[in-house]
């Protein structure tokens, strides 16, 4: 059975000038132990579709879907209390800005143990032990001491490790990583990606990697979905996407990579493509 299945997801926001469709009929499926990358430029609805699936959008958003299931359980008809039991435990998420997504008022140890307090029946001592174990897992040196630190005392890379540790606290079946390395340097990015891939393989998690960086896609994904303005443009396994992109948009996107430059200029075909051409050229 697939882990997460979404069919025809639509997310609309009410604005002064009428409803704005951020996600327009996206369908996707993730299996156990699979790495799915969702790629798109800013405004392509890649983050919003995942937030909608987790029910984390504010009330101003109208979310509809033909199907939205996790392990065959319907997430739409579920009560909020029921959904909260799944989210943070079986599905968890890592956000883009590690420093901003941790609470500056509490120690990182408190924030990890909070997840365990809510979702497990471990007692205080066991929670502490588990937190130390998690810090070791994500490669934070001397965890006992580090648990007492506040987010501002740690570097961006370390904060992202704390976020990953928090997300992994209850051994989730599905991890959603929303641009996990965008705010980090290449050398740190490499470490974090390697860590994520190692943990993914060890635990057999499903992993959804939301990113705009084709390099990250090439380094991590099994399967890729390309999105543009809230619509799915192409879905393919990673090798065929890079070897033989089908849609106009993906081709244009790949040719805009600086490494694919011919002479002094970069091809900017996306500039000349109209939305209609992009949507018509979509391969779903």
């Amino acid at each position: 059975m697939s882990l997460l299945e979404i069919q025809n997801l639509v997310v609309e926001f009410q604005t002064a000038s009428g409803p704005f469709r951020a996600v327009d009929g996206v369908s996707l499926k993730v299996d156990e132990g699979e790495v799915l990358a969702i790629v798109g430029e800013s405004g392509s609805g890649k983050s919003v579709s995942m937030l909608a699936a987790m029910g984390l959008l504010p009330w101003t958003a109208k979310v509809t879907a033909d199907k939205l299931t996790f392990y065959g359980r319907d997430m739409q008809s579920m009560s909020d209390a029921e959904r909260r039991k799944i989210i943070g435990k079986e599905i968890s998420m890592i956000f883009q800005e590690p420093v901003a997504s941790l609470n500056p008022c509490f120690t990182v140890g408190y924030q990890i143990e909070e997840v365990l307090r809510v979702h497990t029946d471990l007692d205080r001592k066991a929670r502490r032990a588990r937190a130390i174990e998690l810090f070791q897992l994500v490669g934070i040196p001397n965890p006992e001491e580090r648990l007492g630190h506040y987010p501002h005392q740690m570097s961006g890379g370390q904060c992202q490790r704390v976020m990953i540790a928090t997300a992994l606290a209850c051994n989730p079946k599905l991890l959603i990583a929303d641009e996990p390395t965008t705010a980090l340097d290449v050398t740190i990015q490499k470490q974090i990606l390697d860590l994520l891939m190692k943990l993914q393989a060890e635990h057999g998690m499903g992993l959804i990697m939301i990113t705009h960086d084709m390099g990250v896609v090439a380094e991590t994904a099994d399967r890729v979905i390309v999105q543009y303005k809230g619509r799915k443009i192409e879905e393919a396994d990673v090798l065929s996407l890079f070897e033989n992109p089908k849609s106009v948009y993906t081709k244009a996107l790949l040719s805009a990579l600086p490494e694919n430059a011919v002479g002094g200029r970069l091809p900017t075909i996306t500039e000349k493509l109209t939305d209609q051409q992009i949507f018509e050229g979509a391969v779903r």
């Binding site: 430029e41 961006g156 050398t187 705009h212 084709m214 090798l239 890079f242 996107l253 805009a256 600086p258």
Partner: protein, 275 residues
């Protein structure tokens, strides 16, 4: 020919004052770097955050004084501590910052943003200022109707175009670009990089390009300098640095950069299958 920019053993220290419980501390942000940029060339400075590349940018732009060492712009020695800079010197070096969302004043119209450098540094009358701003808008691929709009009405790529236009208003010799495309999407990044290449050709501009994205650096530079903890660990032509990196940090940096070629993906998938 004298180089547009020459730096000899530039250093910059930051003093962190002590308090009741803490001792005063000195941070050596840049520990003596030397380099030269000829007119019309691009020098890229690469390194991870905290390695001093932005400090270097601020020194070159004459925002921060140098602690020791010499900096020559067009063969003229610059020392902003000893004497106030003439507006002539100010006009020679301009900077474009990383985040176009933060570097444009949200309460000013694009026209005001573009003409402000002229008001401060020149005696050009208002009508001509306006004409120049209009001409510059077209140069960077925007339109005249954008003159009286506010920054929030623009996308990130357009804002970066405005920031570039502002930097060019004074006809600078040297443009310092502090991660100008790292906040932009891939396709927009390509457009801005092309714009920079066109402008360089048209105005014979000299660029100091700061970035941590090696694929962009490889595309745009003539010379490359790699910085690590305030020191220049590698400095040479692009082909030298990329073809035959000497320092272990440069090699680490290259190894960490994600590769998008099909062979690399095949190799990774193969590894994954075996594991």
């Amino acid at each position: 020919m004298t180089p547009v920019l020459e730096a000899r053993n530039l250093k910059r220290d930051y003093h962190i004052p002590g308090s009741l419980l803490k001792k005063a501390k000195t941070v050596h942000a840049v520990k003596g770097v030397s380099f030269k940029v000829e007119q019309g060339k691009t020098l890229s400075i690469v390194g991870e955050s905290g390695c001093g590349k932005s400090t270097l940018a601020r020194m070159v732009t004459m925002i921060d004084p140098v602690t020791s060492g010499e900096m020559l712009i067009d063969g003229q020695k610059v020392d902003i501590v000893a004497e106030p800079l003439s507006s002539d010197m100010r006009s020679k070096v301009q900077i474009v910052f990383q985040n176009p969302y933060g570097s444009l004043n949200p309460r000013k119209k694009i026209g005001d943003i573009l003409t402000e450098p002229l008001i401060i540094n020149t005696k050009i009358p208002a009508a001509e200022r306006r004409d120049r701003a209009m001409a510059m808008l077209k140069k960077v691929g925007l339109e005249e109707k954008h003159y009286s709009r506010y920054p929030h009405m623009f996308s990130g790529g357009q804002r970066q175009r405005v920031a570039i236009a502002r930097a060019l208003m004074l006809n600078p010799r040297l443009l310092v670009l502090d991660e100008p495309v790292s906040a932009l999407d891939l396709s927009v990044q390509a457009q801005v990089l092309n714009l920079l290449a066109d402008l360089q050709e048209e105005f014979h501009l000299t660029y100091v390009f700061i970035s941590h994205d090696l694929s962009v650096v490889r595309h745009i530079s003539d010379d490359v300098m790699v910085m690590y903890f305030g020191e220049a660990v590698e400095y040479g032509s692009r082909d030298q640095v990329f073809g035959d990196p000497q320092h272990s940090y440069t090699k680490t940096l290259f190894a960490a950069t994600p590769r998008v070629d099909v062979e690399a993906i095949k190799a990774r998938l193969e590894r994954r299958k075996r594991a």
